[in-house]
């Protein structure tokens, strides 16, 4: 099964910020791998994601503005930790939402 679908904001790709959704979270995004949002910080972008897909709130946040310990955020393939939510982003940036793994 392929979930190679991206939701756009109706804008050109380079005029939005693409959030790459982790496999385990795609159940909350109707199977979408990538969701296009707007914002100037990672936090604003995640708020937009949650507005579009409310199920993502519990998947990402322990409480308001507090990410779950298991969530890792990368902006343009670089770790945004710590203080991820206030990290600035601009159009064309890529945000990856990754879940920490602990199995072995």
């Amino acid at each position: 099964m392929s979930f190679g679908i991206t939701r756009s904001l109706g804008k050109e790709w380079d005029m939005a910020i693409n959030i790459h959704v982790h496999t385990t979270h795609r159940q909350f995004t109707n199977g979408l791998q990538v969701v296009a949002v707007e914002g100037t910080t990672v936090g604003e972008c995640l708020n937009q994601l949650v507005k579009q897909f409310p199920g993502m709130e519990k998947a990402l946040f322990a409480k308001k503005d507090k990410l779950l310990n298991t969530i890792e955020i990368y902006v343009n393939h670089a770790s945004a930790y710590p203080n991820e939510l206030i990290k600035p982003v601009k159009d064309g940036d890529e945000i990856h939402l990754i879940t920490m793994l602990a199995g072995g």
Partner: protein, 245 residues
């Protein structure tokens, strides 16, 4: 000095110009701790034993259970109920009797870890839980022993190599502890990740190639993708940040 038998056994890898006879001698002199004799520990131990590492210490307190056998390929049906380290040592000795395999059946704790890794060249993270990974990470940093991280879940896995005092550590990218829970996994995921960990160990011991330092490699077996992410050393990291290191 390599014996004629060793020259024959390792012929194909000695042919690799980055290894050669000198590299093979380095592997023979090397001492590796593998923390965990399960899904990751199995491929790591098998490939390092096959490659001719001089001495391997395997640490795991658990016994073999039927539910381990889908992924922990060092353990077979006949081993159910045995200590994992004993089961592992028996297989590894049969694979390469020249490699010294030491089996330690202990729970890794803050109190015993320093002694468990004393005198070893590298530590391989083949654990199945985060708290013990943090114990290993912190100890590796304090003792300046390179640490080779791996973890899996489902069809996914990740690898990162940590050179204490030089590169980002496990805590530099983690916000904090996570709840311990039974994790889903199929054997091919730790097979891929463990093989990459073993490759990193061999490269480090030989001083060749480019290590996965400050680089988190994430493998998605369902999509068959490898994604690489940069991880920065966090100056305020409570394991490796100033003034600790």
């Amino acid at each position: 000095m390599l014996t004629p038998s060793e020259m024959e056994r390792y012929d194909r890898q000695i042919m690799i110009k980055e290894i050669g006879e000198e590299g093979q001698k380095k592997l023979k002199k090397s001492r590796v701790v593998i923390a965990g004799a399960g899904g990751l520990g199995s491929p790591v131990a098998l490939y390092l034993t096959a490659a001719g590492i001089g001495m391997i210490r395997m640490i795991d307190h658990d016994q073999v259970a039927l539910s381990n056998l889908n992924r922990q390929i060092l353990h077979w049906e006949e081993d159910i109920g045995k200590r994992k380290v004993d089961s592992a040592r028996a297989k590894l000795r049969n694979l390469n009797s020249a490699v010294e395999i030491e089996a330690i059946s202990e729970i890794i704790t803050e109190r015993n870890i320093s002694q468990l890794v004393e005198g070893f060249d590298v530590i391989v993270d083949a654990m199945d839980n985060l708290p013990t990974r943090y114990i290993l990470n912190r100890c590796a940093i304090m003792k300046r022993i390179p640490f080779f991280h791996g973890a899996v879940n489902g069809f996914e896995g990740r690898v990162m190599t940590i050179l204490p005092g030089e590169t980002a550590c496990l805590r530099c990218m983690h916000r904090g502890p996570a709840p311990e829970e039974k994790f889903p996994v199929i054997g091919v995921a730790p097979a891929v990740i463990g093989s990459i960990q073993a490759t990193e160990v061999i490269k480090y011991l030989l001083g060749i190639g480019k290590l996965l330092t400050n680089r988190l490699l994430i493998y998605d077996g369902l999509q068959v993708t490898f994604n690489e992410f940069t991880v920065h050393r966090n100056p305020e990291c409570d394991h490796c940040g100033c003034p600790l290191v």
